[in-house]
Symmetry: C2
Subunit: 77 residues, 2 copies
């Protein structure tokens, strides 16, 4: 399941209904984690690397700024 996939294909790969898949995809799309393009009557989705990058950037800041210094403090270093 690498690269672009249609909703129907995804739906076949999970034990839930197609509408449920659509609803998940909508949320992922709103969060910019996936993007989609029309292809005839079907709609093809793919992961959006930039979306994941921004999640990672956020996490890096989180760990870097807050926790590292906090850990040092606690450990008395």
């Amino acid at each position: 399941m690498k690269g672009p996939v249609s909703v129907g294909t995804l739906s076949g790969a999970f034990p839930i209904s197609r509408p449920a898949i659509s609803q998940h995809l909508r949320i992922l799309k709103d969060a910019r984690l996936v993007s989609d393009t029309a292809a005839g009557t079907r709609r093809v989705y793919q992961l959006n690397p930039e979306g994941f990058e921004s999640v990672r950037a956020y996490l890096d800041r989180f760990w870097g700024n807050s926790l590292h210094s906090f850990k040092k403090k606690v450990e008395g270093k």
Copy 2:
């Protein structure tokens, strides 16, 4: 709100009841993300840096293995 805090103090800082706070703390404690010590009639909680370290380690593996290679592939690098 840095360093150790009592349950009552925490409770005052959130718009939910004290028992709700206790329940959250229990879960965080089970997950080793916080630790607590008795101090008279009150109980003082603090973040547990080691717990967060293991979360970070997990995330690093996640990003490192799967996503970096995927991103390269998508970008055609």
